[in-house]
């Protein structure tokens, strides 16, 4: 594997808040064209990892390279190459959908003609044609989410970060997102996705990383994860519960019911 094929690389990435390590000594290598699922219980450090990778947070120690560019040393070089879809669609509500996409295209210096073509294409894909001239504040949560995704796709990034990509989306849109991920990955885009929905991770991810209390406790494809866990025949849910020690909780739940 040549260095050029590595899209995301972290070196002992650590983020501490006082004595609490939100992310501790994370070492990952994710290739171009790979769909990488990042799993973990609530508060495990998934969103913090994405924020560290995208430069929204400064690491306490360690580095992140996106397509070979260190996010701290060469932030602009790194940022040109990725798109981020945060968990909450926090986008400019006082712009119309089309204005927002134009804004995103412009700040990523996409060619003007290409911006217009992409806007039409993305609105169509996300079933937003006809709503593009309305203020985003009038959109539903799902529509805002779709608009945030469209904004991240407009500059055709080499790396896509999805933080809980299907939350708040209708089944059709969720399916569109999954298809987009697969399609983009086939064309060489690296997808880094944090999710709670294990079914999606199992179905579409090439590899999965499991983080718990800031520590990466397992990484690999399904076969590799099965080897690490005791669940030799189990599905991802069983492996996840076993690795994160949440199987014990099932007994408590049963006793409650």
């Amino acid at each position: 594997m040549s260095d050029n094929s590595i899209a995301i690389e972290t070196f002992s990435l650590t983020k501490k808040y006082g004595s609490l390590a939100a992310v501790n000594n994370l070492n990952l290598k994710i290739k171009s064209g790979e769909i990488f699922g990042f799993l973990g219980p609530n508060g495990a450090g998934k969103t913090t990892t994405i924020k560290l990778m995208t430069g929204l947070l400064k690491p306490t120690a360690g580095t992140v390279k996106i397509t070979g560019n260190d996010i701290q040393e060469d932030p602009l070089g790194a940022k040109k190459n990725f798109g981020l879809i945060p968990e909450e669609p926090l986008i400019y509500e006082k712009l119309t959908g089309i204005e927002f996409l134009r804004f995103m295209g412009n700040i990523f210096t996409v060619d003007r003609k290409e911006i217009e073509e992409k806007i039409k294409e993305l609105l169509k894909v996300f079933d937003l044609t006809g709503r593009g001239d309305e203020l985003i504040q009038s959109y539903s949560h799902g529509m805002k989410q779709k608009m945030a995704i469209a904004g991240a796709l407009i500059h055709s990034p080499k790396v896509l970060f999805f933080d809980e990509p299907t939350v708040g989306l209708d089944p059709r849109s969720a399916r569109v997102i999954k298809d987009i991920m697969k399609f983009r990955a086939r064309s060489g885009v690296c997808i880094f996705m944090s999710t709670h929905i294990l079914e999606i991770a199992e179905r579409i991810c090439d590899r999965v990383g499991i983080i718990n209390k800031g520590e990466l406790i397992a990484v690999g494809n399904m076969d590799e994860l099965r080897k690490v866990s005791k669940e030799k025949e189990g599905n991802l849910e069983e492996i996840f519960l076993q690795l994160t020690g949440e199987e014990e909780d099932i007994d408590i739940i049963k006793s409650l019911t």
């Binding site: 924020k51 995208t54 430069g55 929204l56 947070l57 400064k58 932030p75 602009l76 070089g77 940022k79 040109k80 990725f82 981020l84 945060p86 909450e88 926090l90 986008i91 400019y92 006082k94 712009l95 089309i98 204005e99 134009r102 804004f103 995103m104 295209g105 412009n106 700040i107 990523f108 210096t109 003007r112 911006i115 217009e116 039409k120 609105l123 044609t129 006809g130 709503r131 593009g132 001239d133 309305e134 203020l135 504040q137 009038s138 959109y139 539903s140 529509m143 904004g151």
Partner: protein, 572 residues
Amino acid sequence: MLGLLLKNRLNILFLGYTRDEIKKKIGRIIGTFLGIAIFSLILYYSARFFTFIYNRLDTGLANTIFDIALDYIFLVVFIFIIFTGIATSLYILYLSKDLELLLSIPIKYRTVFIYKYIEALVTNSYLFFIAIMPILISFGITSKLPMAYYPSMIIVFISVVSIPTSLGVLTGMAAVRLINPNRAKEILAFIGGLFGLLIWLSTQLIARFGENMAPQLKSMSIEDIKAYITAVFDKPFLKFFPSTWGSNTLFYLHNGNYKEFGLNFILITAVSALLIFLCIVISQRIYYTGWSNSSQVAARTGSRRVKIKIEVNTDEKGKYGYGLFSGVNYFILKDFKILLRDARRLLNIFLPMFMFTFLFFWSFSRSINDSGEINFFLPLKIILFLFLPLAIIGLVNSNISANNIGSEGLQFWILKVSPLQPKIILRTKIIFSSILTIFCGIIIMTIFYFVFKPGLSYLILGLILLILFSWGESIIGTSVGTFFPVFKPSQSSNKNNISFIGGMLNLMLFLLYILIFAGIAIGILYLANYLNWSSLISFPVIIALELILDIILYNTLVNLSTYRLNALEWKY
């Protein structure tokens, strides 16, 4: 159940002092002490003022002053709550985050409404409580009023603030049935603001009219002064304002006129109670359904969809995002669009500007002929022409530029992940606030030009100084705003995206900057007068020095804030 909700609210308030983040706790404690200090200072100085009036003035004249002062104090409260209260009420009743929980648990909708109404009332009036209550208390103490005065004072205060709050709530409830509450909040804030401005302008106009009708103060007799004050301030229209019923209640109690006291007391409390009752009755029919409908996305009509489709399919090159407004300049266009669509923010920026302009206009145009005669090294009117507009637009600019970064709000992550140099982001923000204030400044300067008539050369100098001043103030405001941004205000109705400390620092730096800026210009004009320089020499010297000042500011402050912007973490 209402008691439980209120108790819970107080508990949340208390926990803010004990369990919140240390930074927020300190902020709250400082804020509370500041509030107590302000309350005590107002109490002390107003007591001294009232004692002074009693000791030095004729009783009849003192009473006239008290009567008018009370009228105007309550009028200000009334107008201000009409101005801000509608939007606040709408936010609390329809957009607060706890509504989903409150309306889903087994509590009567009426209880939730009353709870929210009380929250709106407190939010609308707590600042006035700190500012007005000490005045009313010191009035009671210095006038040695009976104990009945104090409960009456509290009832009257609550009644006066509840009337505009109820009007706001009623208007809001009606509006939300037609439009999305977010939009309604902005539109109603705008209408409320215009209404408030209209009342304020009317009082100014009528005051001037009264002044012309007032007797000349040649003899300075008590009767003449009383007649003069009454003619200027005591307007017949005031008696139609509920605020005046409130002030009359307290004034007649002070005078021992119990019949008038009773009448006014009944009038103000009855109107207040009636409006609250109306709010509760109407809320039972429309509050929950209004909230429920507003939580859904407004359905669009078919014709609107067709129209939009046509617009989207029309390839109008150059409509957006091209030429001057392409690339990074799209930032500026984005900020203008967002500002123009945010009625509340527009009001926050432009209303003070209009008020200050008219205030100065009225204050100085009255005696412009006299002040024109006053000569230092230059006629006073030229100094006023050059620096009054700068003071006004400086205030406007410090408001816009200090919010330049913070007003990105929860969307700031977009800038953080964009491949743009932080310095370029700051530059575009500085350009945005400069353009806006230069535009406003030109309007103000044009008005002042026709008032002061300073001559063309001073107009040109004034305009160049305006550009330089706007630029410099934008640099200061944007830099301070970058160091102290508030991306997520505790109340989403709050449009101030700078921390309290940042706001204070911004104000101090603004005052320092205007002092230095004006000092340079006045110093050179003075020197030119002393050395007999012509305008061709003195004006370029002023411009060059101001330009150097701005370049120094740009190179120091922007570099510092670039570092800060780069280091800002996104934790939301």
